[in-house]
Structures are given as structure tokens and as C-alpha cells.
């Protein structure tokens, strides 16, 4: 076996070496249907030759749209076998985004999961001059659809089998021609800033990143993996396509997006990757069920949970766990941790990743203390999805992990994280200027994230680089880093931190009306509205304590000294946030200029006049005197 091969060559190897081993499963009609590597290979071959018969040639672009389905993965590999490029797109993209990507990528063939997706593509056809063929996987509802440019995947495979009879050896010859520096995948960035950009990833990018991952993590041939994250996301391509082809383990496709939780439990995959939102949902689910349990069960749960958390803290401090606690852990594992892991489908998971956004330390600790080997991973599309991850013994909620072997990380100007690795992409498709902006002359990729390497050698990501400023004395100031710490509190919904060119850090807080509301009810604090609730002295005290807790984990210079509670939540309708709930920093600074002035002039109240937009579009103003509060234990240094 050559050390590095193109992905299709791995497929040929697997068909020989792992012929009868399960390659991919799909839950259909309530039963896991298994395809072996030989079947995987045969389907890819038939689809590829069918595409060849229909005129798909080297350099062609094929797009897949739909949920995770074996046949959509096969179609991507089939395109790569012919020297083509796979362009997976998000199945829930709105028409405008979809049209942009398909047109920009010059996609000639789209493989759509079902009628719903076909309809979307057909509606955009006039805007897609390069599109020649739409292939659908599920024939349901397609009876009335006609057209030479519309085919079912079964038809394509049939064409492929006929083509094979007329052109023996064509498939293998095409694979033979493939080179490692051929582009295999366009991964479009989600486009929070401007239009999406198509990152070109080569076979070498993907295979070498796959090898890096396989070297850093314990990945085995008999692993089971659940493919449920969007195919258009580079992380799914890396694991479900690339690492799967390289290692030969089994990928499992859930029955439908709604059944993922149940399928996860049924399958018990040996490794799990999930964004913070899913871990948080799982934890909430556990807490709700514990709260609803009968008193005895609830007591056992809480008793075990307390033991687990204490042990976790001791372990992270490097202190040995006393015998009594170990005994409690053993009991807890039998009665609580094991069953909970089992319920969540994490019982067989040797490792689990969270990435993409910060995960609250409490959530992180909960899973670790319950015996889930949860770790952080960091990567980006342009780096084929992998930069750093946490080794088992070094898992912690604050870092993004240790850069993987072969991946060089350094900190550039303004604390920007720069990366050089075999995974650095070839460039953005048809956007030379943007490529030059992010890859410098020496080949370092500029991630746009600000961070640092801690003494252990772990990478810590603090913010987007362009948002990082400096306090008046020159200390770096990363607003998002501070805001995330605050938002880990259940009572704080949104936070905006100020400090650029100022002597200290301050924050505007929007409380979470649900949690603070029920907190107030439990304490008999009566309130009428969000406005009223936010200005209660008790609530100010509560949030002050929460900020104090956040301050404990912040360096001295970055501690929040003063804060104020907004009389309304930050809102996209008021242009304070984007629709994806990211603070529009520049606008907020302008709009809340009097607040900032009050923070730093030492005044203890400010009149807040906010224009608000009601849901029916009416405009109104809300005028109120708002207290500016000092945070206890973090008094202003003058």
C-alpha cells in the first residue's frame, strides 16, 4: 500500500482487502441495511460509469444535496474517480444561496435526495447555465417529471453497467489517471461575511489530513460512526468520506434527521462528533428527566452526580481521588453514569469531540465526569477541517487542543493564529484575490482567529482577530472571549464587552427573561416586564455575582469592572445583531455611546433612550434611567 494515494485508490484497495466487511449502513424501513466494501465499490463504479456515459469528464463538478445517504456519498466518490470535483451543498440552503454556489462552482450534475430537493434545483435552472443533469435518489413523487436532463440514480447505474460492457477497464483507467494534487472537493464557507467562498481541497489535502487525524486519534477498523452532520460541512467530508475510505470502518446513516437521537442510542457509535448545541441539548434532556424522576431515583442521581463532579475537579487538579469517593464512583457508574451514557448512545464511544463554538465548562465537565471522553477539536474549512485536538489526558474546557503532528501553528500579528500544514487548501475557486489575502508568501494560512499557545502547547482561541483591540495600557482585549465567559451563565442571554482604548473592561448585559424570571418568582420578587425585571436591585445583584464568577477565570486586566443591564434584549430587528445572533459590534458601539461614556466617566446611572421596533413594525422609544453597577471584588483602579 502506497503511503499516500488518491481517494479512489483507497476504494480499490478496500474492495480487495475488506471486501466483505461492512462499509456503510443505512437505516431503512426500521432496519439497518448494510453495504460491504465490495458493494460500496460496485455502486461507485456503476454511478461513475453512468456519469461517464452521460458526458461527465475530468474536472467536472458534481453536487450532492440531501440528508446523509450512502448513495449521495457514493456519487461524490464516483465524481472523484472520474477526476471530477464534489461540491456538497447544505440541504436547507435558501434558493439564493443555493443558486449562488451551484452557479459559482459551475456544477454540471446535481444528485438530489428526493423530490423536494429536485424541485428546488429545477426552479433555479434558468440561473444555472452549466447545469446539464439532475439525478434523483428517491423516485417517490417523480412519476410526472419528464426530461432528458432528469434521471434516477438507478437509471444512471444501469447506464453505467451497460457502459462497462462496452468500455472494459474504463473505470480503473480513470482512477489510474488521478493525481494527488487534483482538486477533489469544493467546500463552501458559510459566508457570514459576504458571499460564500469555495475552498478547493485536493486529494493530497484530504488524505494527508486524514492520516494526521488517524495518527493523533485512536481510530480502528471495527469502529462505528454515525454520519448525521451536514455533508456540506468539511468535517463530515473529512471523517465520513476520507477517513472512512482510509481506515475502512463502518459509516452509519440515520433513518431521518428526526430519528438521530434514537439511532445514536441504537447504534452506540465508537466515536461521536457534535457541535456544542447538541451536547447542551443532551445535558438538558438528562436534567429534565432527572427532575421528573421519583424522589429516590432523583436522590441517587444527584448523589452520584455530585461525586462525579468532585472527582473530576480533583482529577483535573492532579490530586488523587480518595478511597471513599472512588467507592461512590464505582456505585455511581453502575447505577447512574453507565445507564445515562447508554441512554445517550455514548456507552461505546471511546472519544467524543465538540467544536465549532465554545462549550460551557459546566456542560463539558458533566460529560467528562459521567465517563464520556469529551474533547475539543479545532479546524477550519480551508485547512481541511483539522488543526488541533486534545489528547485524552489533556482534555479541558478552555483550549482548542494541541496542534496535530505535522501541523505548524504560530501566532502572527494582532494575535492571529497562522497555520501551515499539508491540509492548507489550494485556494478559493475563481477568487485569486481572496486566496492571496489568507495564504501568505511563505504558505501560512491566516485563520482570522485570534489566539495564543498556552505553556502546555495547547492552542487557545479567544476571538475573531479583527475584533481584538487593546486596553489603554496596551493589554490585548478580546471582547468575544469575555462575552462567552459571561454567556455560560444561564441568567445571561447576551453580553457586549467594551474596553478598546479604555482603562478597563465593562459590559452591557441582556438578561435571559426565562431563567431570571423564574429565579425572581422563586424569591417572591414581583415584576411586570422585561424592562422592570432587568432593573430590580435583586437582579442586579444576581448578575453581579454571575459576572464575579466569570471574572474568576479572567486575567486581572480583563476582569469586568462595571456593567449595566439592558432594558431590552439585543435584537436582530433592531439591527444590533445579525440573524445568526452575532453582535454587530460597530453599530452597537455607536448606538450605545452614552452608556460607554457613563461607564468610563464613573457615573452611576445613565438615561437610556432606545428606539425599539415592535413585531408589527411600529417604532417606539423606551426611555429609562439605568443603573451602572460596579462589580464587587473588581473595583475600578484609578
Amino acid at each position: 500500500m502506497a503511503d499516500t494515494m488518491t481517494l479512489p485508490r483507497y476504494l480499490l484497495r478496500n474492495a480487495r482487502q475488506f471486501a466483505d466487511r461492512p462499509a456503510i449502513r443505512e437505516k431503512d424501513r426500521g432496519i439497518w441495511q448494510t453495504y460491504t466494501w465490495r458493494q460500496y465499490h460496485d455502486h461507485v463504479r456503476d454511478i461513475a460509469l453512468g456519469l461517464a456515459a452521460l458526458g461527465f469528464t475530468r474536472g467536472g463538478k458534481l453536487s450532492v444535496i440531501g440528508d446523509n445517504r450512502p448513495r449521495l456519498y457514493w456519487s461524490q466518490v464516483a465524481a472523484m474517480c472520474l477526476g471530477g470535483v464534489s461540491v456538497p451543498v447544505y440541504q436547507d440552503s435558501i434558493a439564493k444561496e443555493l443558486a449562488f454556489v451551484l452557479d459559482h462552482a459551475e456544477v454540471s450534475v446535481v444528485v438530489a435526495e428526493d423530490q423536494e430537493q429536485v424541485d428546488k434545483i429545477l426552479a433555479l435552472k434558468s440561473q444555472l447555465p452549466a447545469l446539464r443533469l439532475v439525478i434523483y435518489e428517491d423516485p417517490r413523487g417523480m412519476l410526472q417529471y419528464r426530461g432528458a436532463d432528469l434521471k434516477s440514480l438507478d437509471e444512471v447505474e444501469e447506464l453505467g453497467r451497460r457502459f462497462a460492457a462496452e468500455h472494459p477497464g474504463h473505470f480503473e483507467r480513470e482512477i489510474e489517471q488521478g493525481r494527488l494534487d487534483d482538486v477533489a472537493l469544493f467546500a463552501y464557507t458559510s459566508g457570514t461575511t459576504g458571499t460564500p467562498k469555495g475552498a478547493m481541497l485536493t486529494h493530497a489535502n484530504m488524505v494527508e489530513t486524514g492520516q494526521t487525524l488517524a495518527k493523533s486519534e485512536d481510530i480502528r477498523l471495527d469502529d462505528d460512526w454515525l454520519a448525521y452532520l451536514p455533508m456540506a460541512w468539511v468535517g463530515d467530508s473529512l471523517y465520513t468520506l476520507v477517513v472512512n475510505l482510509m481506515v475502512g470502518f463502518t459509516v452509519n446513516c440515520p433513518e431521518s434527521p428526526e430519528t438521530v437521537q434514537r439511532d445514536l442510542r441504537e447504534l452506540g457509535p465508537t466515536a461521536v462528533l457534535a457541535p456544542p448545541r447538541i451536547w447542551e441539548n443532551m445535558l438538558t434532556g438528562v436534567q429534565v428527566r432527572a427532575a421528573d424522576a421519583p424522589r429516590l431515583k432523583r436522590w441517587v442521581f444527584e448523589w452520584s452526580r455530585a461525586a462525579a463532579e468532585r472527582a473530576e475537579i480533583l482529577k483535573s487538579e492532579g490530586t488523587p481521588v480518595p478511597l471513599g469517593l472512588r467507592l461512590r464512583l464505582a456505585l455511581g457508574n453502575f447505577f447512574v453514569y453507565g445507564p445515562v451514557r447508554d441512554q445517550l448512545g455514548l456507552r461505546q464511544a471511546r472519544w467524543a469531540y465538540t467544536g465549532g463554538a465554545p462549550l460551557g465548562p459546566d456542560t463539558f465537565r458533566f460529560f467528562r465526569s459521567f465517563g464520556v471522553n469529551l474533547k475539543q477539536v479545532y479546524g477550519s474549512t480551508e485547512l481541511t477541517g483539522l488543526v488541533s485536538l486534545q489528547p485524552d489526558a489533556e482534555a479541558n474546557p478552555t483550549t482548542a487542543g494541541r496542534p496535530c503532528p505535522g501541523i505548524d501553528v504560530k501566532i502572527g500579528e494582532r494575535g492571529e493564529v497562522l497555520v501551515k500544514s499539508a491540509g492548507v487548501f489550494k485556494g478559493y475557486f475563481k477568487n485569486e484575490a481572496a486566496t492571496r489575502e489568507v495564504i501568505d508568501r511563505d504558505g501560512w494560512f491566516h485563520t482570522g482567529d485570534a489566539g495564543f499557545l498556552d505553556p502546555r502547547g495547547h492552542l487557545v482561541i479567544i476571538d475573531r482577530a479583527k475584533d481584538v483591540g487593546a486596553l489603554a495600557d496596551g493589554t490585548a482585549f478580546a471582547p468575544q472571549f469575555i462575552e462567552n465567559k459571561l454567556k455560560f451563565s444561564p441568567y445571561i442571554r447576551e453580553a457586549v464587552a467594551f474596553g478598546h482604548d479604555q482603562p478597563f473592561v465593562t459590559a452591557m448585559i441582556a438578561i435571559d427573561p426565562n431563567t431570571v424570571g423564574s429565579w425572581a418568582e422563586r424569591r417572591g420578587v414581583a415584576y411586570t416586564s422585561y424592562n422592570d425585571l432587568s432593573q430590580k436591585a435583586e437582579v442586579r445583584r444576581l448578575i453581579g455575582e454571575e459576572i464575579g464568577r466569570g471574572n474568576e477565570t479572567l486575567p486581572e486586566a480583563q476582569k469586568i469592572r462595571r456593567f449595566l443591564l439592558l432594558t431590552k434584549d439585543l435584537d436582530a430587528d433592531d439591527a444590533e445583531m445579525t440573524r445568526t445572533r452575532k453582535v454587530r459590534r460597530r453599530y452597537v458601539v455607536e448606538k450605545y455611546a452614552p452608556v460607554i461614556e457613563a461607564f468610563y466617566s464613573g457615573r452611576d446611572s445613565v438615561e437610556l433612550t432606545t428606539a425599539i421596533t415592535y413585531e408589527d413594525g411600529r417604532q417606539g422609544t423606551l426611555r429609562s434611567l439605568v443603573h451602572v453597577q460596579d462589580v464587587e471584588g473588581a473595583a475600578v483602579r484609578v
Binding site: 437505516k27 432496519i31 413523487g141 412519476l143 433513518e255 431521518s256 430519528t259 434514537r262
Partner: protein
């Protein structure tokens, strides 16, 4: 196309109220026919006579040439007529899966004794029927609901499960009594899609009672209009839309019967 269901001059009175008055309707194999009309026009009564819940006072109903005018509902179901109800009639405490399996009941042959022993015939039979039920679950996209008690489901989903149970019968004729009543826009769209797919792909003949004119005109091959128990129009959606009698029944005449689309 051959006539599958023939309704000839049927009438039904309840006390002094003439609910259905000499209505005739020929339904061809593979048709998707909608029956519309203001509230109290006799639509549901007509459906009830086809499914054997009521027996007509006069007239004759034949299915595939066989007279079913006075047959019991169970016999009619065995002959391949399935229905859903205006007010959902599922077993609320039972799971979706069990409700659907129950829909296969007319196809099950194992007796009480055989079922008690289970292994052997009953087990094989259960597997066969489960396979069919799984097709329906896949078709209706309710894979995530298999083990949920139907009573705990949202209204729109209960409607979908009820359609599923009717489909489990493998019907020749599917009678749908306001399958979209009380559903939101998205649920309506889904339901319309399912009805079209059943009709097109499985070739099932469908008779639909529905108030949403947009849906009716969009998906039906033919529309029959009832008013005050009598059929006043029958034709393609375009013909019916242009029919002055229909406009009068719907938009009201001088006496002031008003339009009621969501009764």
C-alpha cells in the same frame, strides 16, 4: 377507464331531514375525486353510505360490479374500501406502529389460538405485515414516531397517522373525510403531497371531502358539488369553478347563504 365504484341515485333521510337526495356518482379506477359543498350538504353522509356506516333508503352502490348497498362496514373494508374520519379515530393510547398494524387486520389470517402460540405462522405473518407497515411509515415520513402513543402527537401528525392506517388496508378506494381540517399551511401541503403520491404511484382511487378550495382545485381530477343533499355539479375543477349553480351555492343568492370555507 373502467368504473370502480358506482353510486346510483342514493338517498338517505334522518327523520325529516333529507341528508342525501338521489345522488349518483361514477368513480373510475385511479380517479382522484373531491366532493365539496357547504356544511350540511350531505358529503359525510354520502361517504358513510359508501363505507357501510349508513345504508341508503333508496338507490344502489356497487364496487367492482358487486352490490355493497347493504353490506356491513367490515365486509366493505375487506373489499378494499378504507377511510379516515373527520374527527380523528385512532387508538390514542396505542403507538403509531400498533395503530398501523391494526390497519392490516383485514389481511391477517391467524386465529386466536395461532396468535397465542405465536411462533410459526403468526410470526411469519407479523413479519410480512410489518414490512408493509414499514413501507407506509417510510412513505409518510414518520420514522421518528413509531413508538409514540398517537394521543401524544400533534393534530396534523395524528391526521397523517390516520391516513397511514387507512393505507395499511391496501385499499382500492380511499375515502378521506377532511384530511386537512385543522391543519396548518405546511401540514396541508404535506397532506396534499401524500394524497397525490398515493393516487399516482400506488394507483389508489381517492374520494376526498375537503373545504380548502385551493387544495381541492389543485389536486383533483374531478370535483362533485353537493348542496342541500343533492348533486348540483360534477366535472373538472375548471368546469366546476365556472358553474353558475356552484357559485350560487357558495357565494349565496338573494336569500343570503354565505360562503363557508372553513366550517
Amino acid at each position: 377507464m373502467s368504473t370502480l365504484l358506482q353510486i346510483q341515485e342514493v338517498s338517505k333521510a334522518f327523520g325529516g331531514v333529507q341528508a342525501v337526495n338521489r345522488v349518483s356518482l361514477d368513480v373510475n379506477r385511479g380517479d382522484l375525486i373531491s366532493v365539496i359543498g357547504p356544511n350540511g350538504a350531505g358529503k359525510t353522509s354520502l361517504l358513510n353510505m359508501v363505507s357501510g356506516f349508513y345504508h341508503p333508503d333508496h338507490g344502489r352502490i356497487t364496487l367492482d360490479g358487486a352490490d355493497i348497498t347493504h353490506a356491513a362496514p367490515s365486509r366493505i373494508a375487506e373489499r378494499g374500501v378504507a377511510r379516515t374520519f373527520q374527527n380523528i379515530a385512532l387508538f390514542r393510547g396505542m403507538t403509531v406502529l400498533d395503530n398501523l398494524m391494526l390497519g392490516r387486520h383485514v389481511h391477517m389470517k391467524t386465529g386466536v389460538l395461532g396468535a397465542f402460540v405465536y411462533w410459526g405462522l403468526a410470526q411469519r405473518e407479523e413479519v410480512t405485515h410489518r414490512r408493509r407497515v414499514e413501507d407506509i411509515i417510510d412513505f409518510l415520513r414518520i420514522q421518528d414516531l413509531r413508538r409514540r402513543p398517537t394521543g401524544s402527537l400533534a393534530y396534523g401528525l395524528q391526521k397523517r397517522v390516520e391516513l397511514g392506517r387507512a393505507l395499511a388496508l391496501d385499499p382500492k378506494v380511499l375515502l378521506l373525510d377532511e384530511p386537512m381540517g385543522g391543519c396548518n399551511h405546511e401540514e396541508k401541503e404535506d397532506m396534499a403531497r401524500f394524497i397525490l403520491d398515493v393516487n399516482e404511484e400506488w394507483g389508489t382511487t381517492v374520494i376526498l371531502i375537503e373545504h380548502d378550495m385551493g387544495v381541492v382545485m389543485d389536486i383533483s381530477d374531478r370535483v362533485a358539488v353537493l348542496d342541500m343533499g343533492a348533486k348540483i355539479a360534477d366535472g373538472t375543477p375548471d368546469e366546476v369553478r365556472a358553474n353558475p349553480e356552484v357559485i350560487k351555492a357558495y357565494l349565496g343568492d338573494a336569500k343570503g347563504t354565505t360562503e363557508r370555507r372553513h366550517g
